[in-house]
Symmetry: C2
Subunit: 128 residues, 2 copies
């Protein structure tokens, strides 16, 4: 299988041929992890029902859950406006992070950002 | 200002010196966009209350909203387990995407993934 040429022609890959893939639990909205995809990983993710990544450290494809059982079943895949990232909504089986944390961002942890109240607590519309 | 050395020493930057930044609306969970940060952009994002990115196309820093008014006010910043991405929860003023779409993934659009029911409709725990 190869990636649909209409999709392939739109992608803006980095010098390593990759786009970023944001993985989000479809029902809770939780952002689980960020991975990388080359054309083949994206093609398999679109066609096989489970998320497939390209491992930058191992330089190989990997299907999430093949080792851990913690598969990610695809609900939808959307490309962003400049075509260098996809948002993949999934049903995550078990824990998303290989460290045993629920999400990879729980594992890495909070960086202590300073919160300024300039935006207000609620969504503010412009005064147009 | 420079990035906290404890944070800087943890980052796993790409060959261009960048990490990925996933931007999520803090209350609705909607993933708004994905951008890129170098050390200075992350430092400013952590300290100034608004999200700052590195533009790969323009090779310069940009503070989201300076032109459009569509600022992103930071609620929290978390690093992931392998330190090549941050999740930034924000309060988005107005529309996130420069195309006029609500999110950059609305703008790029759905890629028509095949959905397989292998994971079931609900979250399934492993049988441990």
């Amino acid at each position: 299988m190869t990636l649909d040429p209409d999709i392939a022609s739109r992608l803006k890959r980095d010098p390593a041929g990759l786009i970023a893939a944001v993985i989000q639990q479809h029902d809770t909205g939780e952002v689980l992890m960020l991975g990388w995809m080359n054309d083949e990983a994206l093609d398999l993710t679109l066609k096989e029902g489970r998320v497939v990544f390209w491992s930058r450290s191992r330089q190989s494809l990997w299907r999430k859950g093949d080792t851990s059982g913690h598969a990610q079943w695809v609900k939808s895949v959307s490309l962003d406006c400049d075509a260098d990232a996809v948002l993949v909504k999934v049903n995550q089986i078990g824990l998303a992070c290989h460290t045993g944390a629920k999400t990879c961002f729980d594992a890495g942890g909070d960086l202590g950002a300073i919160v300024v109240d300039g935006g207000g607590g609620d969504k503010v519309e412009s005064d147009a």
